[in-house]
Symmetry: C2
Subunit: 364 residues, 2 copies
Amino acid sequence: MERAVRELWAESRDLLGLHSPCPDDSAASAVPRADLPPTPLAFLRDHVSPGRPLLISAAATRHWPAATLWPTDSYLTDALRSTAVSLHLTPDGRADALAPRPAGSSSSSKCFASAHVRRVGFPAAVRLIRASDPAAGLVAYAQQQDDCLRGEYAAVAGDVDAHVPWASEALGCLPEAVNLWIGNASSVTSFHKDHYDNIYAVVSGEKHFLLLPPTEHHRLYIRDYPAASYVPAQAEQEAEGEEHQLTRLKLQIEEPQRMVPWSSVDPYPASPEEAASFPLYFDGPPPIRCTVRAGEMLYLPSMWFHHVSQSPGPNRLTIAVNYWYDMQFDIKYAYFNFLRSLEIDHGSSNKPHASEGDSEDKID
Amino acid sequence: MERAVRELWAESRDLLGLHSPCPDDSAASAVPRADLPPTPLAFLRDHVSPGRPLLISAAATRHWPAATLWPTDSYLTDALRSTAVSLHLTPDGRADALAPRPAGSSSSSKCFASAHVRRVGFPAAVRLIRASDPAAGLVAYAQQQDDCLRGEYAAVAGDVDAHVPWASEALGCLPEAVNLWIGNASSVTSFHKDHYDNIYAVVSGEKHFLLLPPTEHHRLYIRDYPAASYVPAQAEQEAEGEEHQLTRLKLQIEEPQRMVPWSSVDPYPASPEEAASFPLYFDGPPPIRCTVRAGEMLYLPSMWFHHVSQSPGPNRLTIAVNYWYDMQFDIKYAYFNFLRSLEIDHGSSNKPHASEGDSEDKID
């Protein structure tokens, strides 16, 4: 079985033309790049249908007012000075990621940690984001995966296109959600997949993606972890729009216990032992790397696994907008579910979980 | 493994919306039907990308001169009266199908039998087709899967569209081949798949398809069979354009021996024992039935298994044109090859063959 699955990995990368063009050049990406947005037909035929990512150069968003306004120091804080936004707070910038289970729990293994989410006035949120520092135990990330650009951030939503015209025409629908992400280099998004076709547009700074096609499911070692959330270590003043004295967050296992299927793999493992626990990942083809710079757009096909880190722009922020389009549940999805149902006996156990499914959705 | 594969069958039919709308009505087909040809975008999005067939009603070819000319008794024989065409001759109408190995061979099992192909003047070919009768031991089928409409039949190629405009625009290319098929009810095409996106247009009579999605590969019990060909039982006059006295064909194993991977399943088995040998086929969801009538077009996605029988029109002929478009070898194809590499232990053995692959191509 393992041999057949490894052949599937190699063949799907071959057929999608996703072998790194130059293995010695870490800056070279295997993701196809276009100078101009594709026509709807070409996008559908050459990218959506085959499941092949596409990086579109800076021309994609040049006409957006956001392209010049948002990377400045003060435009957004002025425009949103009286707006409360959802700020995701963690001690280490790793929300929706595995973390050691809190002390005192029955097991020494890991849990799935979600951020402490607080509504904060936008200017205060930006101050907290810029001050984010895992060494100080507090990292802030302004994001909310609930169509927040058209919700909390409606006052500036007109600065970007309401949808991606060539994608909407190709996919036959408007985006289900448009989300805004404002963070700095301290925030990292762990490996996961979305049940959406995704268009990511970076407005300030850079986003660094590690990508694996859905055929490489088993390399992620998806297992069930108990859900946990960060909460303030002591009661604090919660009035919106005020600066907060957040001293410390602590992690709390959710009660009643809820299990979340999540990838066990950190692509930057803390030790050789950790890497050795996940041989299908670390002893396999390297993830496909792709950096999306300000002004560029990445099409990420549905069901692709992605890990995201970021670098801030001149305004000391990484700002991105992503458009989620409903994916088509078709024969590719049936094949994926079949693949996922198969067990590979190699190194660590990698059993499929009855509960595994849609709860992996909707992160970055 | 068998359980996982059966779930794959069920899920892919579910997701493609291919459950029979009315199990008790054999005339009802699960194949989506449209009154008008789709736009290129809708065709790509709703059919090519997901791998979902489409039947387009008679409007599809109404504007073709062929629609009115070819079903007549004499138009084609007049237009092609001095044209030699490739006529495929078998005793039973089953070319490119399994047949008992000829007497005297070392084994009692089956072989893969190809027709005796002879160049015959078109009027004589039509006489032989109309006289085809397995009881008399001779069935003729005018076909040649080598772009024959634009080759042997160039004199009448202008009676149909040179390509299917909405399909060409969607797929981004012109057809690789356009083939003409002229036969009667005695000719049957056994289960196989093509590495092409197919558009079938029926001009006279009807074609009856049994369809299985590529996910149901294992149900076909594809095994290696020695290639064989029908040859005249005695030397005959081979002059082109003359009526032939073909008394008898005999089957000859090719030398040196060549193996052809082919489906072992006849959907109309000769005995309950034969059906019992192929439980994954006969103890599984029924094939999807679809009749394509004169004037209609069927889009058959690449890699779909199909079995074809036919009924003649008023001119006592079944006439069809099919357009083969190069398929995209993408993640669906990688998944298919992975599926094919897996063994299911059930009933008969169903081992994948190293040689299995492209030689299944290009039949009907």
